[in-house]
Amino acid sequence: MEDDIFVFRWIAQDGSDKNVVGGMGTQPVEKIPPPLPCRTGVAERPAGPLGEQARRLAGLILRNVPAEDKQAMAVFLGTMMGAWEEDRIFQRSRKSGAGKYCSPAAFSRTLPSTVAAELAIEFGMQGPLLVFTAGAASGPLAMIRATRWIQSGNISLALAGALDWSYPGIRRRMTGAISNDSRTLLCLIGRRSALPRIHPVIQIKQGRLKYSPDENSHSMDTSIAPLADAFRRACAQRVHIQGKSGIGTVCQMILEPV
């Protein structure tokens, strides 16, 4: 059963909004298209720059996917920092209003699941929405959980991936493994039969979780850059992914080109 799960499309971008660190499937993307039609209402704007970026990348990935397939689609996102930027905005509104005049729009975006919900609303995805956190393994974890849900037969198609904020406080503390950029990675994952007219680019051969006390340290990284690199390589060769987190959870996947 595990051999029947594929990545149809994937794309990754760093938070600078200029550098594409991944591509669309096997093809590099030179330029990310401009934002979707701007939402001017304060209550309707997306959750921060990464929320906006996720909308754009999801728009690319879901292009040409039939509406009925999108409707049944699930969303699985991994994030270490959750709604960090939105937390800051809401906290500032609390402080400036002395707790009496907070921004309701900002509060509604302070959940780690905000971006997943915004994607679902934007693209009409009515399947399960799940958001996971496991330190630097959050991205691979979301992929593996999406795989499990597909294997269980509960869903056949999911938009999976990860996004994370750059976090200056943590960066000042940590050295070495820390990525300096916020990043987003999204992929379309499912059974081959789910999208017969779209050719998959990567096959997911195996995915599992384990605990390793050796990884249980304060090492932190945004897991998205190594995941994007693994996806890029897996378009041409077999790749073993080992997503390690600071909380002891290790996510292992084997990817193969189709």
Binding site: V75, M80, M81, G82, W84, D87, R88, F90, Q91, R94, G99, C102, P104, F107, S108, R109, L111, P112, S113, T114, A116, A117, E118, A120, I121, F123, M125, Q126, G127, P128, L129, L130, V131, F132, T133, A134, G135, S138, R145, R148, Q151, S152, G153, N154, P168, G169, I170, R172, R173, R208, L209, Y211, P213, H218, M220, S245, G246, I247, G248, T249
Partner: protein, 380 residues
């Protein structure tokens, strides 16, 4: 669909008002006339730790079963006091580094929910896969489903799922800004309802396959998680779908997985926040799903909306309903707005219970439903 019921054992729960699941259940049978709209915490971080510690301690497997026990933390924001401290430190660069350092060294920094998972997993020596699920106010139920899927798929022989959230000042200010908080009392489904109350709570449950379950005391009844479903409204960030499309889909998925007809549901424990949109949406869903009008109940009028903890806490209460064969009344309900429904009010209802539906909904249009069943042996 997955068709492998898993056992739910060692339920536990506590709130800022009640120290155990039994205390909550007993209070629910005869709810007090007046309940607070907000919990009071002198130290919110201490409250978070003490609640989740208490819930987990009561649900832990014996030591030899912890070596490969997975751990799922279900929460909306985790240790929100640590989040606030770090946010404030970040805005004050002069002291930011030291504050972040202190938070990190205390395992409570906003690294953030991940560090809560790490701290709890280490403290209780749970050495299976660990992670956090955060899906707004459906987090508790979704954590339960994830645990069931993990044991069903063989990712871990057993998984301890803990759901915990604190309704601290950050959350209180947010819900006040949304004008969602009642001015008097939380009265779900009542004509006089005017909003929710907030609560702080934690709940925990050990999820395991039948063959991995340690021997229990003779005569102890067993609760099974027979089916579950999740869906998204894909309509609005804070308001539910007025046609209840997402909740109806989640319930139907859960019933199908459990291989149960709507007519076999003996009672429903609703989300029941006491906000007009939520109550109306749930009523629409109940009318659409059920023709036989099963008894409907809700508990948030007693303990408030406990956010990410509510799903698991209320699933634990549903488990107690099955084991004790009793449906407690909707706390706070006096005059139903929708009198055609079978609301349980004023007094508990004693009746045979074999199968209960538990639902939850949250920001972002998230909906979750689980079907809990009781082993025949446990039925009194």
């Amino acid at each position: 669909m997955t068709k492998s019921p898993v056992q739910l054992t060692s339920f536990s729960a506590c709130t800022s008002e009640y120290s155990s699941l039994e205390h909550i259940f007993e209070a629910w049978l005869t709810p007090p006339a007046k309940v607070p709209l907000f919990p009071e915490h002198a130290d919110e971080s201490f409250a978070w730790k003490s609640l989740v510690d208490k819930a987990m301690e009561s649900a832990l497997p014996v030591e030899k079963y912890r070596r490969d026990c997975g751990f799922i933390l279900a929460t909306t924001k985790g240790d929100i006091a640590a989040l606030e401290a770090t946010l404030d430190a970040e805005d004050n660069k002069k002291t930011g580094v030291n504050d972040v350092l202190r938070n990190l060294d205390g395992h409570r920094g906003y690294g953030g929910i991940s560090q809560c998972v790490q701290a709890l997993g280490d403290r209780f020596q749970l050495h299976g896969p660990r992670f956090c699920v955060s899906t707004a106010c459906t987090s508790g139920l979704v954590g339960l489903m994830e645990a069931a899927m993990m044991v069903s798929a063989g990712d871990a022989p057993r998984v301890l799922v803990c759901a915990g959230d604190i309704a601290g000042r950050f959350v209180r200010d947010g819900f006040l800004s949304l004008k969602a908080v009642s001015s008097t009392a939380c009265r779900p489904f009542d004509v006089c309802r005017d909003g929710l109350a907030l609560g702080s709570a934690a709940a925990a449950c050990l999820v395991q396959r039948v063959e991995n379950k340690p021997k229990e005391k003779q005569g102890q009844s067993t609760v099974f998680l027979a089916g579950w479903g999740i869906s998204s409204d894909a309509v609005h960030m804070t308001a539910p779908d007025r046609r209840a499309g997402g909740l109806i889909r989640a319930i139907r998925e859960a019933l199908a997985m459990a291989d149960v007809d709507p007519g076999q549901i003996d009672a429903v424990l609703l989300h029941g926040t006491g906000t007009s949109y939520n109550d109306a949406m749930e009523t629409v869903a109940m009318r659409e799903i059920f023709s036989h009008r099963p008894p409907l109940t809700a508990v948030k009028g007693l303990i408030g909306h406990t956010l990410g903890a509510s799903g698991l806490l209320e699933a634990a209460l549903a488990g107690r309903m099955l084991q004790r064969q009793i449906v407690p009344p909707i706390a706070g309900l006096r005059t139903p707005e929708y009198p055609d429904m079978s609301w349980v009010r004023a007094a508990p209802r004693h009746q045979p219970l074999q199968t209960i539906l538990k639902t939850a909904s949250g920001f972002g249009g998230m909906n979750a439903a689980v079907v809990l069943t009781l082993s025949n042996a446990g039925r009194s």
